[in-house]
Amino acid sequence: MNLLKGEKVEMKFLNMISNLILSFLLVIIIIVVIVFHLASTTILNKEYVLKKLKETEYYLQISREIQNAFENYRYQSGLPEEMIKDLYTEEMIQSDVNSIVDYIYEDKDIVISEQQVKEKLDTKIKNYLVSEGKILNKQGEKNVQEFEDLMMKEYYKNFNVSESGLKIAKDTLNKIIPIYVHLKYAPLFFLVMVFISIILLNIKDVLMGIRFVSISLLTTGILLKIGKSFVFSHIDIDNRIVLTASLSNSITTIIKEILYTIADYGTWFVLCGIIGIIITSILKNTKAREKKS
């Protein structure tokens, strides 16, 4: 009798340890599923990035930055303000930004319309000189040519802000995306396996199984909340500038959106975890009382 009791206690103990281990594994797998899901719907998704660039008015900001840069050069050029007006259109800006995004996500060639800008500027300057009756000597022509080249480079620079940076982004995505495509269903598969294992292990007392799942959800929720707070406390995301103000604005918006989404998931998981724990406790207690009576 005592032996049987001892064996029962041992079985219960092993059962508890197994539940704890599976519950712990479930936490890690849920976090991996969330990371995969977030990555696939945000930074690994070209359409999401383009949508965010539109929402953060990146195209408008970059247009302003280009105009500002043009004005700096025009200032010292002796040319009137009209020379730098209407050198590019909104469609050109959008197409050039999209070309950079296509380069990063699809390894396409970067096609920027700086040559069109130069040709428009050249036409405007020639017309201006003719209207003012100004004839340039060889040095003067060279100065105008150099001015046009500088403006062209300035236009290009605002899109290809950092060649090395863009290459790193492209190479990193090109490494991550194939891995993600290969493994995207693996975390879900393991999630289902662990969940089924917990239920099977607790087939005689399903409420206990659900309780351990709830503990996992609560743990996941707390970890997600901690993660978001940790990042915000170590990196002052709002006040960091990445290359240009317009790019910083878009990047910080995307990062903050991801972190707030993580925090939201955390809240839901904490709530589901606590509710699950409370409900299973109530039901278990009711069952125990019924059994007693």
Binding site: Q76, L129, N143, V144, I215, T219, I235, I241, V242, I278
Partner: protein, 204 residues
């Protein structure tokens, strides 16, 4: 009551287990990934810049050394060349924004009173340094700073290519003021030459 107590007990135990899991995972992550996280944080701080408000300080000259450099972009002096009707603010730094507002102080050069090269630059328009080429040898230049006034006398002028940086040297042997602007003055397009005025310190 007893029932509520039992339910509460079960809930608390489950919550404690959850926090234990959190602690274990946080410990494992800190032990294995702390170094990587620190590297990532310092990399982020290296490739980005902090957008913070800078406190304005008043410079003080002590034994030929300036204590408390002016904040980048702040006005710290006025340039006066009476012979060519120049009276312009001098800003510390040489960005396009500064050049639009007045005279830029090359931040790789010394300050007036420090005994080295003081290099200033300005645009060549009418309201700025268009008349600089009209300044003659012997004309006086006054720089009124927040820490004192300095008078210089022009001893040389030159037209140089923008790439000839050796003509505008940074040195600490003698206080020489060098002011330059784009040349030709009424140039159209990009001016690749600079008109430079050289002046010695005569009065502090």
């Amino acid at each position: 009551m007893r029932r509520i107590f039992e339910i509460l007990k079960a809930t608390i135990i489950s919550t404690i287990v959850a926090f234990l899991f959190v602690s274990i995972i946080c410990y494992i992550v800190m032990k294995t990934c702390k170094e990587k996280f620190d590297m990532a944080t310092s990399l982020i701080k290296r490739i980005t810049i902090q957008n913070e408000e800078v406190e304005l300080v008043n410079p003080v000259l002590k034994n030929g050394v300036l204590i408390n450099y002016p904040t980048y972009g702040s006005k710290y002096a006025t340039l006066k060349i009476d012979s060519v009707d120049v009276n312009l603010p001098i800003y510390y730094g040489a960005s396009y924004t500064i050049l639009k507002s007045g005279i830029a102080h090359d931040n790789t050069s010394y300050f007036p009173g420090e005994g080295g090269s003081v290099i200033l630059a300005g645009h060549n328009f009418k309201t700025f340094l268009a008349n600089l080429p009209k300044a003659q040898i012997g004309d006086e230049i006054v720089i009124e700073t927040t820490y004192g006034n300095f008078t210089y006398k022009i001893y040389d002028t030159k037209i140089i290519q923008e790439s000839e940086v050796s003509e505008v040297p940074i040195q600490k042997d003698k206080e020489i003021l060098m002011i330059y602007t784009c040349y030709p003055i009424h140039n159209i397009g990009y001016a690749s030459q600079r008109y430079v005025v050289y002046a010695n310190l005569i009065e502090e």
